[in-house]
Amino acid sequence: MALEFSPETYKKFEETVARYPRKEAAMLPVLYLAQQEFGCLGPEAIEYVAKLMGQSPAQVYGVVKFYTMYTMKPIGRHHIQVCRTLPCALRGAEKVTSFLKKSLGVECGQTTPDGRFTLSEVECLASCGTAPMMQVNDDYYENLTEERLTEILQQLE
């Protein structure tokens, strides 16, 4: 069964490409559309995007691997990304990560067996003034404490 965009997503794809002076410039937004649609950018998704964009799968693969926000494998519903760079480290980022590892029962880079959470460490998210902090999917959670973390985890279904 070949992967392809739904008609609605295909329309978004066309609108996206139309915004740019050259088609190839739309690669990053198109990859976001594909990741949203297919859940992750595996080999089939990469081949499909390559066809849409008129490029080689190798080229698209190179782009996918370069950027941290594209994933080739499925991840949990909530991707918890804890900032680990110096300003956050100075304010307890490591304790946040340890707490989350214990609470979720996973190591960094792993997903909980129920598919609810994936835990990662990431680099500076430009939120150093409200450290320690983390990003979960699209949202920043700042000024973290163990209490706040427990609350947040409960709220994330």
Partner: protein
Amino acid sequence: MEKLLLRSIDVPGSHTLAVYRSRGGYRSWEKVVRDMQPAQVIDEVKASGLRGRGGAGFPTGMKWSFVPRESPKPKYLVCNADESEPGTFKDRLLIEKDPHAVIEGTLIAAFAIQSQTAFIYIRGEMVFGTRQLERAVEEAYQAGYIGKGILGTGYNLDVIVHRGAGAYICGEETALLSSLEGGRGWPKVKPPFPATHGLFGCPTVVNNVETLAALPWIIERGAAAYAAIGTEKSKGTKLFSVSGHIARPGVYELEMGYPFTRFLEDDCGGVPDGKKLKGVIPGGGSMPVLRADELEGVNLDYESVQAAGSLLGSGGVIVMDDTTCMVRAAWNIARFYAHESCGQCSPCREGCHWMEKVFHRIEQGEGQTGDLELILNVSGNIMGNTICPFGDAAAMPAAAFIRKYRREFEEHIAQKKCTVAG
């Protein structure tokens, strides 16, 4: 001090067109697009002394003037909203709380270089900021500030908000352009510079968010008013992002030349919990650390910080107290660069991983004799031998941590553990 950049961020609804306009917003754009010539705008910004606020501090008007006016190729203006320098979060504040100031500045810069297509390249992680900008751009289109035949003139301009996908290197202008062209964020050799060979080989200017946000004020009050603020070579105001072991972290706007120690102790509340200041990084994770005893007489402007042996950079001020293990801090930064290296240049690609590895083994109590010389040697071999300044950005802090805290590193190696934090 009158706030220029942060004047609106605490006003409710500051991100909306209605509030922005009620506070005088877009009057500068109206003046530029209706009454000024591109060359006049360039001259005005040159006269203001505005320097790029992303980190390099290059004179903005001069950068614009490198765009060949007579070139038949389309010209592109790019707002660099890829803020990723460790310790820096000032652009995010402007994007989230005053997106119209960023947009108005983008329009003014685009006009100055006669561009008809402007991009705002924003890092992929800043989803909320992206939505703020997209909404504000839509409002500006509706109001006729962007689009075809703007405000009754013959000038056409489109603005495209474009998300990155997670890569620190894309803050470097040529890497940003490689990414915007749809590829890996690989920097390009300079020269040629983007002003002549940029996006799709066309004349392009990339400006930082904070740089652009200063333009409406400069056009409104005039270059002389901006140049009256600051020092002889560092004009105007700058945003400083303060983090780490400090009582009042956050974004502050200061006149260039403000005394560093007074800033930390008075404005930011000093080091909390009875601890003592041990070191400060003045300009973001790529800049050399300054020891507490090196701050005397240092002012927050480009020249003074350079004379002290570091650089103002992005103004990301990272404060470390006396509980900080400098070996661990050095490793943390080295790990950042090892992770973010784009991989094109062998000295950087291999060297960054070596520095991370050696710092890490020292930190873990497995440091070997000669490790410090090894890191310094690797650092020296990266500097100046790469396509882009990322290599220097990784090499400089590594060497600085060792130079400034040599005894601590030696003790950590000899004792096979941290002798500071335990």
